[in-house]
């Protein structure tokens, strides 16, 4: 019996590692070990006002900060009986487009691409792919800018509030966003070209199941009231517990999810598989050109999916900015009740995020947050095990197997810090 370890998984957020246990020629187990300590956010917010909760929960993550903010707002507004004004809704769509560009640009160009081009990191890529590294920084800067314009700050902006926005973006800022988004489209097209040209390894391939929100009005988008499952079923977001079925495992500070006793995947690939036919523009053309049945089996395709989705976000930013400009600034909607419950579901860049709240007498009585990485962990381990088995059977060296496993884990764009906020510690 021997172990093959990746002690510190690089180019992901948070502290995790991979352990492969090998018995003779058989891979007994592959685990993604989460070392990040539990953060207990759900307990922390109990007894807070909904407004205070909204200040705390985005601190779970500095990159999905607006996804957490928006998801919490959706859950809290439902619980408090608030219908947000149209301008608030379209401004929220705008901020999510910005976050998508910001996160997907960093992950595709700088975290995932080095693996496929044979470099240890983006730093090593600089000599040969310096322009692509700069593209990543330009796109990330722009995504950050959209987030700052809509939320008030690049990270942890406090402008989005329950019932609307403290302040809406100015016409000048929106016009600038429109111009810059147009200008950056070629950078996103380059990302698609790069990821479409890669010969993806087949080692992790296996039938997969995907989940994503069902954006309203038969459009592509990052929020919805129902969840599409790639087996053809659909469920109301209020039934999120039946979809995620969380459980604790001994080797991880993050909970795990199974749907009908099987692992599933959330993320950009899930969104394009479930809603890809709703894309338009160049993003639709490029998806049509590069989509094939391997998307349904190979988690590495998530990198290409993120690149296409980033392009769609850039192509849609001008429309979203126009919609915001076309509407007058409404007042912030007030709660219509002090007791209630509600679930929000949004698509963070790395997958579906749920926030559920129960409110009693105007205070948070219970909170439940389920992050994309927590949902993906079982499927990450399943695909890593297949990869290890097949690479070892192919006579690959340990270092090659390690890299193969890291590529699978990284393809999911995991956020380990996010995933470890919710484990309950039991002392016996």
């Amino acid at each position: 019996m021997r172990e093959l370890n990746v002690e510190a998984l690089a180019r992901v957020e948070g502290d995790g590692g991979i352990t492969v246990t090998i018995d003779g020629k058989n891979v007994k187990s592959v685990t993604l070990d989460i070392h990040e300590g539990p953060r207990l956010i759900e307990q922390l917010v109990k007894g807070m006002t909904p407004a205070d909760d909204l200040n705390v929960v985005p601190r779970i993550c500095a990159i999905c900060t607006l996804s957490h903010k928006y998801c919490a707002i959706r859950g809290l507004e439902k619980a408090l009986g608030i219908k947000p004004p149209e301008k608030a809704q379209v401004t929220r769509e705008l901020m999510m487009l910005g976050e998508n560009v910001e996160s997907n640009s960093l992950h595709t160009f700088l975290l995932a691409l080095p693996d496929f081009l044979g470099y240890p990191s983006a730093i090593a890529m600089l000599n040969d792919y310096g322009d692509d590294v700069k593209r990543a920084l330009r796109l990330k800067k722009f995504g950050n800018h959209v987030m700052a314009v809509t939320s008030g700050r690049i990270v942890h902006g406090e402008n989005p509030v329950i019932g609307g926005f403290g302040k809406y973006p100015s016409r000048k800022a929106l016009e600038e966003i429109k111009l810059k988004a147009h200008e950056l489209v070629p950078d996103a097209v380059r990302a698609v070209e790069l990821f479409a040209s890669i010969d993806y390894p087949t080692y992790p391939e296996a039938d997969m199941r995907f989940m994503s929100v069902n954006a309203p009005k038969n459009q592509f988008g990052f929020a919805g009231e129902s969840i599409i499952i790639s087996n053809g079923k659909e469920a109301d977001v209020e039934d999120y517990k039946k979809l995620t079925n969380e459980r604790v495992v001994s080797h991880s500070f993050a909970k795990r999810s199974l749907y009908q006793d099987k692992p599933f995947t959330v993320g950009a690939n899930a969104r394009l598989i479930n809603m890809g036919k709703r894309l338009d523009g160049q993003a639709a053309d490029l998806l049509k050109e590069h989509y094939n049945e391997r998307w349904l089996k190979n988690p590495l395709m998530n990198n290409l999916a993120q690149a296409i989705e980033m392009l769609w976000s850039l192509e849609h930013l001008p429309d979203a900015a126009d919609k915001v400009m076309s509407l007058d600034d409404p007042p912030i909607e007030k709660p219509t009740r002090e007791n209630g419950s509600g679930t929000g579901a949004v698509e963070a860049p790395r997958g579906t995020l749920y926030h559920h709240y129960e409110i009693k007498n105007g205070l948070i009585d219970a909170a439940d947050i389920i992050t994309p990485t927590a949902q993906n962990l079982d499927d990450i381990e399943r695909h890593m095990k297949l990869t290890a088995e097949r690479m070892l059977a192919d006579g690959k060296k340990d270092d090659e197997v390690r890299l193969g496993l890291e590529m699978v884990a990284r393809a999911y764009d995991p956020c380990i810090s996010c995933a470890t906020h919710l484990v309950t510690l039991k002392r016996i």
């Binding site: 957020e13 990159i63 996160s103 990191s121 730093i123 310096g130 800018h145």
Partner: protein
């Protein structure tokens, strides 16, 4: 009288001398890194915020967008250095300050949250700009904790030294 080594005056003079040495004759930009929600971890941001009042065009922090700031400076047609200021575990007592030059910046990996300083320094180097990291040893990094006294003193000292350097370089 024999001057005690590491007396505050010495630290300040030594740091000023080191910074002047690497700053050369170009513009001096400061980019403060860290998380102000986590006590001493926000030291770099606090230094940058203090300097921003006097040097709004030359001092930036996490709140301005790190990668975009570096990209903008890398594209300027001028001789320049970016001094990143960040809390770092130096295995020293809280408040200890250490200047790390470009050649010694560890080639750490990028995480999901932010591009590594090593990559940003490399991008600057390709654009004929220089970079260094001014590290401050934190004493406490708990969420919503208060900044410790030794780190507050180091923030003040760093701000004083950088004010002198930036005044000379950027006027």
């Amino acid at each position: 009288m024999h001057k005690l080594r590491d007396a505050p005056g010495d630290i300040e003079e030594d740091l000023r001398s080191e910074l002047e040495d690497i700053a050369g004759n170009g513009r001096v930009y400061v980019l403060g890194l860290g998380n102000t929600d986590r006590a001493d971890d926000g030291a770099g941001v606090l230094v940058a915020q203090a300097l921003k009042k006097r040097f709004p065009l030359f001092s930036f922090s996490e709140h301005d967008g790190v990668e975009g700031t570096v990209l903008d400076i890398s594209e300027k047609k001028e001789d320049a250095i970016i001094i990143f200021v960040d809390a770092a575990d130096l295995h020293a007592s809280p408040g200890k300050i250490k200047l790390v030059r470009k050649a010694d910046i560890r080639d750490t990996e990028i995480t999901t949250h932010r591009v590594a300083v090593a990559l940003m320094a490399s991008i600057l180097e390709r654009a004929d700009k220089r970079a260094a990291v001014l590290c401050i040893q934190p004493g406490r990094i708990e969420f919503q904790g208060k900044v410790t006294r030794p780190v507050l003193d180091s923030i003040d000292l760093t701000t004083r030294v950088l004010t002198t350097i930036m005044k000379n370089a950027n006027s």
